[in-house]
Subunit: 168 residues, 2 copies
């Protein structure tokens, strides 16, 4: 069972100075768009941020984003409720896209970490302003991504006490 | 870029009659528990359902679950808000676990599909009753899983119009 990107994925917050090439970026975005969504509504958009001043500005408005100081790139996943006939599943749809991208990042030998934005109003307002989001677009989460500067083994976090059979 | 479980994952609703062995089940659950969660709170539990009468009972209370007629197993992902100091991220945490499991299912050569439960009150109440969930536990989503009875190619759903650069 070695070689599973799902099991090997870890949150990577330290990156080398190597930039991300466009081909890899497209592979990551493709993974986001390969995620399932409720009723296949696909209510997401992606903002790619590799401008240093923008990355620095995110660090001002998001309290847990200091890894962006070294990251070559961030990808903001946005949800657009008006694009879905089942907008109550927007968090699920956007989370599925984020998770697909994080596992694809692992498959590509890169490292990334998930920064929560929605539903924290301060973070949402701050990010909205940094990347000029129009009304009706929800800044859902940020992925910080780069070439990893350190190796982490699998977490191996299996806990039998969390598994129930047939009934709770 | 062949061989990516992330890109090859599809929603699989048709299964052969072959049951799922315990080793594969543990691999799938391990993937769920390898998912990241906000502040590493890991506020999820899993109910494994392979009892035919329970699977049939889910079909009565969930309107889009007819694939369970042939599925050998369903895994209910539950969220426990009281286990997290940031319960507002429960949908993200549970969705990350679901998505990790779905991609692991693909890695293992199995097939699965995500059935939304939360935040639909009728589905939540129905599922709660079928598997005797205690108060304070949220039935979040169901994964139907089995050996696939049909092959599906990658969806290839890439859409450049959803990608923005630096600003929206």
């Amino acid at each position: 069972m070695k070689g599973s990107a799902v099991l090997n994925r870890r949150s990577i917050r330290k990156y080398s100075s190597e930039p991300l090439d466009e081909e890899m970026l497209v592979e990551i975005l493709r993974a986001g768009m390969a995620a399932p969504s409720a009723h296949n509504q696909r209510p997401w958009h992606f903002v790619v941020i590799d401008d240093r001043s923008k990355l620095d500005a995110i660090m001002v408005v998001h309290p847990h984003s200091q890894m962006l100081r070294e990251a070559p790139m961030a990808i903001l996943v946005c949800g657009v409720p008006s694009k879905s006939k089942v907008p109550e599943y927007l968090p699920q749809d956007c989370s599925a896209a984020v998770m697909s991208m994080l596992i694809r990042i692992t498959e590509l030998g890169l490292g990334g970490v998930w920064l929560g934005v929605h539903p924290n109003p301060d973070r949402e307002n701050g990010i909205r302003s940094v990347v000029s989001l129009p009304d009706g677009v929800v800044p859902f989460a940020i992925i910080s991504v780069g070439h990893p500067d350190a190796e982490k083994g699998p977490s191996g976090r299996y806990d039998e006490d969390r598994v129930h059979r047939t009934n709770w």
